[in-house]
């Protein structure tokens, strides 16, 4: 029922190109300002009558819901956790970029724009990225006003640090808990609006279907995860802020509940899914220790400011790190990329680590690890200074591995972290379903093929606080007809949810949901992970449909629908991952170039770097769901300001 019929990778169809991105043209510095001036405004008296649903309470959804309510709209806010404060954004450690140039080190809006377009390997939109850089400055002001306790210098001014892919110090941070503090700011703003009556909060509710009436998004069907009741919620517009889908890999740095369901359900109702194969691999995670592992833990990239990455020069050197003299170590990032050293962007650092491990020089029990060494920093700055900067991260590392990073170097390995793909949106953040807006990690925009560090938080907050509240009004001001609660489309969506839930509970097979998820994750990591080949992708594309069939025949979901049932929640999410996984592989297969976090082994330069193919692939790949062979719509990317060039960090 929910599985796709026999569609296979060979039969995708190329459809009409996507031409209308709603982006203004003209000088790039004035585009956002002109767009804002161009939008129709909603009269304050009308705002009070308009309802907006926001799914997700992370940085993107929390900030959007709070701001929309502040503007006067009636907002309903949904999240699957018990409290909006627990959204996955809470886990972000490193920091948030902003072109404040407080250091006078040559930063500017233009430089942030430039770095981000280049860092995205020329697969993002110039207009969007410029807007992001402009707004970055306002985000810091807003967050400080809310009481976000960013790190400060002794003089009381804000401190900054550098992050991978940048040579200026533009990253604002709150110890190793930046995401937590930014999210608490948004959450507190949200709670304020809940108290004021502008937002109705639905915690422990999961969106399981999008309601589309007359071609427009008009609501959602959500399941109350405690009582099991499914109910439709109608509105004038729907905003998805449901985060990324990295959990398709099973092991990732994402929170366990992160899922693709909201986006995937919208995709099945007509929203195009763009660049699904663009996955960011983060270079500094704690390596996998065994089969029992349920998730991977990130060590903030900011550690590469002071930590030096190395492996033994000799393959198979099993000496303790302290016994290996300097001359017998290979500080491979500093050697290969002298200009950026340990601060090269994530895709570069990740691949370099993979390569030394593939060559047998990896460290740790599995050989899949490299050292991140603080010995030099400790002797240069002293232990207290290092502790002040990274203490909580060191503690976290010690807790998980049982090793003390003040004494022995950390061991790190790349892991799935962030997904740059997502629902396609235009400049106004509207999807191809009118009235459906998508913000934060759930949309595809801004990051191109590779997200630079500290830019996802920036995007989530830019979308939620500043972009969406302006652009959604343009849609609403054009008028939205009321919709009846018993409209056939509403009934159908409810029936679809009920049917799926019933089906999952009735299979009563002999395999757990987790075992399917793990198998899918292995397939995805092996064939659609850091390095991909046409052959591997074809293998995955053969196996995933089979696995999906097995799932719908043999999965075992205990319990009932009329109560809190975590197995049922998981089953629904994994069912959607089983469809998304196939689309990711298809997208990866058709993109016969390497770019950013996507490395196609067949497409590399002589010295083993990613070889982009701008002639053939300078476009966004936006996929349409048909139930059979998907249709590919291309949006051409144009670069008027930052000329595509080979990205070199050497």
């Amino acid at each position: 029922m929910s599985s796709k019929s026999g569609a296979s990778y060979s039969d995708f169809i190329t459809g009409s190109p996507l031409v209308d991105t709603a982006a203004p043209d003209g000088p790039i510095e004035t585009r956002w300002e002109r767009r804002r001036f161009g939008v129709k405004l909603v009269n304050p008296a009308n705002k009070r009558k308009m309802k907006i649903i926001v799914v997700g309470t992370g940085l993107a959804g929390g900030s959007a819901a709070a701001t929309l309510a502040e503007l006067g709209y009636q907002v309903s806010s949904f999240c699957y956790q018990d409290s909006p404060r627990r959204a996955h954004s809470i886990a972000a450690q490193g920091g948030i970029n902003a072109a404040k140039n407080y250091r006078g080190d040559g930063d500017s809006i233009y430089r942030l724009f430039y770095d981000t377009v280049k860092g995205g390997d020329f697969r993002s939109r110039e207009s969007n990225v410029h807007r992001l850089a402009e707004i970055s400055v306002q985000i810091i002001d807003q967050c400080v006003a809310q009481g976000v306790p960013f790190a400060r210098e002794y003089g009381g001014l804000l401190d900054t640090r550098s992050f991978g892919g940048a040579q200026v110090s533009r990253t604002f941070y709150a110890r190793g808990q930046t995401g937590q503090q930014l999210l608490l700011g948004a959450y507190q703003a949200l709670e304020r609006q809940i108290d004021a009556g502008g937002v109705t909060m639905y915690p422990r509710h999961e969106m399981l279907e999008l309601i589309v009436v007359d071609g427009r998004a008009r609501g959602i069907v959500a399941r109350d995860l405690v009582t099991g009741e499914t109910r439709s919620h109608l509105a004038d517009a729907v905003v998805l802020a449901s985060g990324g889908y990295g959990n398709v890999f099973y092991l990732s740095t994402n929170a366990k509940g992160c899922n693709v369901t909201a986006s995937w359900r919208a995709h099945r109702k007509g929203a195009l899914f763009a660049n699904p194969c663009y996955t960011q691999i983060h270079p500094t995670c704690i390596p996998v220790s065994g089969d029992h592992q349920s998730k991977l833990t990130l060590m903030s990239e900011s550690l590469r400011n002071d930590g030096r990455v190395w492996v033994p020069q000799k393959a198979g050197d099993t000496r303790a790190p302290g016994d290996i003299p300097d001359a017998e170590r290979d500080y491979f990032l500093e050697r290969q990329y002298p200009a950026f050293g340990n601060l090269v962007p994530r895709d570069i650092a990740s691949r370099a680590a993979k390569n030394v491990c593939d060559a047998g020089r990896g460290v740790g029990p599995t050989g899949l690890g490299v050292y991140l060494d603080f010995a030099d920093a400790i002797s240069r700055l002293g232990r207290p200074a290092v502790a002040a900067k990274y203490g909580n991260l060191f503690q976290m590392y010690q807790r998980i591995t049982g090793e003390d990073p003040y004494e022995v170097p950390m061991r790190i390995f790349p892991a799935v972290h962030y997904t740059m793909g997502g629902l396609w949106v235009d400049y106004d953040l509207q999807s191809t379903v009118p009235g459906l807006f998508v913000v934060g990690e759930a949309n595809f925009s801004d990051h191109g093929a590779n997200r630079l560090g500290a830019s996802a938080l920036m995007q989530g907050l830019a979308d939620g606080y500043f972009v969406l509240p302006n652009t959604i009004g343009d849609y609403l001001a054009r008028g939205v007809e009321p919709v009846a609660t018993d409209a056939p489309e509403v009934r159908e969506a409810e029936a679809a949810v009920a049917g799926r839930v019933e089906k999952l509970l009735s299979i009563d097979g002999d395999r757990t949901v987790d075992s399917f998820h793990r198998e899918l994750g292995h397939l995805m990591w092996d064939h659609c992970g850091m390095e991909r080949t046409a052959e591997g992708l074809r293998k995955a594309l053969d196996r995933i449909p089979e696995l999906r069939r097995e799932f719908w025949q043999t999965v075992k979901v205990p319990g009932s629908a009329a109560t809190l049932n975590q197995s049922l929640e998981k089953a629904g999410r994994v069912a959607d991952f089983l469809e998304l996984g196939e689309l990711m592989c298809l997208d990866a297969l058709h993109r016969e170039e390497s770019c950013g976090g996507h490395f196609r082994a067949e497409s590399q330069t002589e010295d083993g770097e990613a070889a982009r193919d701008d002639e053939r692939f300078s476009y966004v790949a936006a996929w349409e769901y048909t139930g059979a062979a998907p249709v590919l719509h291309k949006e051409d990317l144009n670069f008027d300001y930052v000329t595509p060039s080979q990205r070199s960090y050497k």
Binding site: R86, A145, G147, A174, E191, D195, M396
Partner: protein, 248 residues
Amino acid sequence: MRLNLRIWRQDNAEDKGRLVAYRVDDADEDMSFLELMDVLNEKLILDGEEPVAFDHDCREGICGACSMVINGEPHGPQKATTTCQLHLRHFRDGETITVEPFRAAAFPVVKDLVVDRTSFDRIIAGGGYISAPTGAAPEAHAAPVPKRNADRAFTAAACIGCGACVAACPNGSASLFLGAKITHLGELPQGQPERSDRVIRMVKTHDAEGFGGCTNTGECAVACPKEIPLDVISQLNRDYLSATTHRR
């Protein structure tokens, strides 16, 4: 390693609940406590039993979702550690471990180990914020914050809203949680205009939600995985006293 577990099972808020014994034979000392629960649950599912419901999400000690009383202590025996960051290397082979939900009048049990902590959200809604409308903020450097204040604000802001302090408190008081927010916002210049109102409104909500009063037992700070210091409670009391005596 082998572990004997006694886990609280309760179908819903009305059910009386009981401890049920389970055994896990193939635990590994590198596992986190939640991974132990995963292993148990997979086994239960294959045996046709309902798995144990528990809250969790980030599994890195920051979302505050995971909540269990392990051997009588919220988040277990390890200092400054959430349940998801608690690893089995801190337990002995063959040990019997009792696992129960966080208990407090203001945290009704939903199912098994899952409790309802939305009362915390309502405390925040009752004033735990700075009113800063979007887009109207002054330039961030306009108000410098001495490092000492910024650091203290941060230390208090590190609260993850897990509720261990409440579960540990014999009175079911949320004073540590409340004090943490009061201290965080009170240390910053931006937090001053609403300072008195905030504390009065938040204390009122706290009491209305059914949390008990603080009698300085200090159990909260011992249980707190983020080591929120007890002095935030003194700060809360000072702010409250000054707000109630000086407010016009």
